[in-house]
């Protein structure tokens, strides 16, 4: 009879649920996921997938991978990225070529959606895991991602 079948199934599923949470309850002392933040400030490391802010990695010789294609600027839904670029003569080939002057990133407007990072064809920008982003004035939140004097790594555009 399905009436009693329902009761049986109901009780069974409820008990299954309670055993799951019960197991969590018993093991909670070992694996609490709470970070007691200011206390463990020195040792706290964020997860790999944590989205702190957008950064542009540079290698040892101060070269980045950004070609100035502006795809990230277009992809950003709220205009957090501005690229100031220029056509300059490439010293190696002697041809004129598009190069970034400043890759400006407004952390204060960013919603951490990640679309710019998806859009970048050369993987020039990525997520950093830092989380102490508070400052005393919002103008500090506007950052220039490419370091002064840096240039694009050779061969990226090919």
């Amino acid at each position: 009879m399905s009436y009693f079948g329902n009761i049986y199934r109901g009780i069974k599923t409820l008990l299954t649920g309670m055993s799951v949470t019960g197991k969590y309850f018993l093991t909670s002392r070992k694996g609490a996921i709470t970070q007691q933040y200011p206390d463990n400030r020195d040792t706290l490391k964020m997860f790999d997938r944590f989205r702190g802010e957008v950064v542009m990695p540079h290698d040892e010789v101060n070269e980045h991978r950004c070609t100035g294609c502006q795809k990230c600027e277009i992809a950003c839904p709220n205009g957090s990225i501005e690229i100031i670029w220029d056509r300059q003569v490439d010293p190696e080939t002697g041809k004129k070529k598009k190069m970034i002057d400043q890759h400006i990133y407004h952390l204060g407007m960013c919603t951490m959606c990640g679309l710019c990072i998806e859009a970048c064809p050369t993987d020039a920008i990525k997520w950093a895991q830092n989380f102490e982003n508070s400052v005393y004035d919002r103008s500090y939140l506007t950052k220039v991602l490419n370091k002064p004097g840096s240039k694009v790594k050779a061969g990226i555009e090919d």
């Binding site: 329902n6 649920g17 949470t21 019960g22 909670s28």
Partner: protein
Amino acid sequence: MNITLSITKNIHNWLFSIMPEGIASIAEMVLIAVVYLAIFAVAGLYLVLLERKVAAWFQLRIGPNRVGYWGLLQTMADALKLVSKELTGTVKADKFLYNLAPYFVIVTALMALAVFPFTQEFQAFDINIGVLFLLAISSIGVIGILLGGWSSNNKFALIGAMRSGVQTISYELSVGLSILTMVLISGSLQLSEIVEVQKNGWLIVQGHIPAVIAFMIFMIAGTAETNRAPFDLVEAESELGAGFHTEYSGMKFAYFFLAEFINMFIIAAIGTTLFFGGWLSPFGITESIPWLGVFWFVGKTLILVFLMMWFRWTFPRLRIDQLLTLEWKYLLPLNLLNIVLMALIVWLNLTIQF
């Protein structure tokens, strides 16, 4: 006056020796009321803390651990904060009823505590219809909720209060019938008498199958009665703000909050008294030391309270039609069958006695 105030004979005799009889009994009642009030206000606060800790452990968190050692003073601090807060209200609220509602809820919750035998002789009010009194008192609480929801002139509060009305009236039936099942086997409505009966084995053992069914129904209906998850549509945060107490702040909110926890304690205490032998120790191991009864009583009650917390942090909230289906299509018919079964078992003497 045939009220038996049997908490401590010494104070009783002392009071009667220094005062005329009438004044002495009034003084005694006031004294007991104050003691109960103090104990249960603090106990309620610590139940809140326990709930928060247990919730944290269920969710792999740590829970309050900053105020005092291990967070032990957290709820005290919360209560202090609530006392110091402004009492706000809506402009077109029905002021009289609005102010009255929290007292309905908290007073009934505290009144129900009077009839529990915490241990031998430790009972404020040993009334011979104790179980009936509990049922009657616990259904007054819902009036407070209805009044609060109605008078605060807020649609969320009103919806919450109406849901509470539906829910409490339906589930009152199941609580009543499952208690009735146990009254069949204990043969008395007086709580101290019911505990006395269980000296030959706790009622859940004596009544075996129907008692276990009655206990399950009682726990489900009792959880619904206290408006806790999974039956918390009354204050469903995601739908109604805070339900019937949306417009309350400060101490009045604290009354509702405290009443919820005291009600939870009461449901667990009824469960302990009716099914698990009240203050009796398992197998009578500490029978010679009567005051240890308090320990057993509170211990068993806390286990049942923990069970209700376990429900709360496991099950998702029911929809209103599911709630009513559960009550009217499942719990109620099962309960009626169960009563017949229990009657048969008592009639044919199939109970297990030690």
